[in-house]
Symmetry: C2
């Protein structure tokens, strides 16, 4: 037994692993999952292709982890915002919409990657989880709102899906800026978010948008 990794060594390994994840995440944010090839990720870290496989079972595994972390980061942002919002379901819904849409418009390419980019099954599975979390978050708000009579009587789960769809689809045009630089947020974006808000509020059966 002539070798036993020291504490520092172990920490370095963790850092390296994290470095691969960070590199992959940055590639995804810039050009989507498709651009996050193993070679590109390794190059970004000035490491060899092979070393990636010492830290991950394979590309799918690595990308699924990237997805999970990026998506949960987004979800956390929305959850936190909701937690800070009041208890009125309308206010909470408003927070979900504006936070979600605002963040998506600010990081369009990442939003596109998380929401729409064609991905391999393992990553798609993560996407399903992530979408479900959003719809559940929404469904909970809607359930409360329906119970309070703030929203019209309706199936909260179905409505939550529909709201998610409405938001995503309304954003999609702007979320797909082919290649090139991330476009600066335009004032038009504000109108889009506002339109989405109004649409969703009406859909749920509230006249006052808050």
């Amino acid at each position: 037994m002539a070798y036993r990794p020291t504490e520092t060594t172990r920490r370095n390994a963790e850092l390296k692993r994290a470095g691969f994840l960070r590199a992959a995440r940055s590639l995804v944010a810039e050009r989507g999952f498709g651009a996050a090839t193993v070679a590109a990720i390794a190059a970004e870290c000035a490491a060899s292709v092979g070393s990636v496989y010492s830290y991950f079972d394979g590309r799918e595994d690595l990308l699924a982890e990237v997805f999970r972390s990026a998506a949960s980061h987004e979800l956390d942002a929305v959850r936190t915002a909701v937690a800070e919002a009041g208890s009125d379901p309308r206010e909470r819904l408003d927070t979900v919409i504006t936070t979600f849409a605002g963040r998506a418009l600010r990081g369009r390419r990442m939003a596109w990657a998380l929401l729409f980019e064609p991905v391999t099954p393992a990553v798609e599975a993560e996407r399903l989880v992530y979408r479900r979390s959003y719809t559940e978050l929404l469904a909970a708000i809607l359930r409360d709102g329906v119970a309070d009579g703030v929203f019209a009587p309706q199936d909260p789960s179905l409505a939550a899906s529909a709201v998610m769809g409405a938001i995503s689809e309304a954003l999609i045009g702007g979320l797909r800026p082919a290649d090139g630089d991330e476009p600066a947020p335009s004032p038009e974006d504000k109108a889009i978010v506002e339109g989405i808000r109004l649409f969703c509020f009406r859909a749920l059966g509230t006249e006052e948008t808050l």
Copy 2:
């Protein structure tokens, strides 16, 4: 000049071309675009892989054509139904929703392929065209409705996207029956369509759902 294709020969060529398209379409309807490999398409027609290339520039080309034809078939069905509906925007909207959703639920795998399946860029381009047609159809209805005061004042294009998204997303759960046989239409489907209708009508600002 010892050869000049006869009329019959030419017709046969057209039939063969159509046969490839039909085979591809049936594969897509059963298992999505991913399953429509050149080899599978050729096999379905008892032809060789190479012959496919005498009729199409390549797989992308062939699949784009399949997409176009399947999508326009769907679109036509909706357009026809709308044309037969009255002139009341609410009735027209209702027709779009029920026709679209009903057909999607009846041919889930095809609907999934047309709406959501990850596809190559050439096919994706067709999808964009197709989605745009739907949103334009909807936008026209909404524009009339807003003008008539039947719907609340709003940006018809944005609302049309949102409606499309709401319908698609609300359907998506049911549209993704992994593998296996096409599930029989369940009575639950009816409830889904009804829920979508109500959601959309409220979203547009009409109390009476017609």
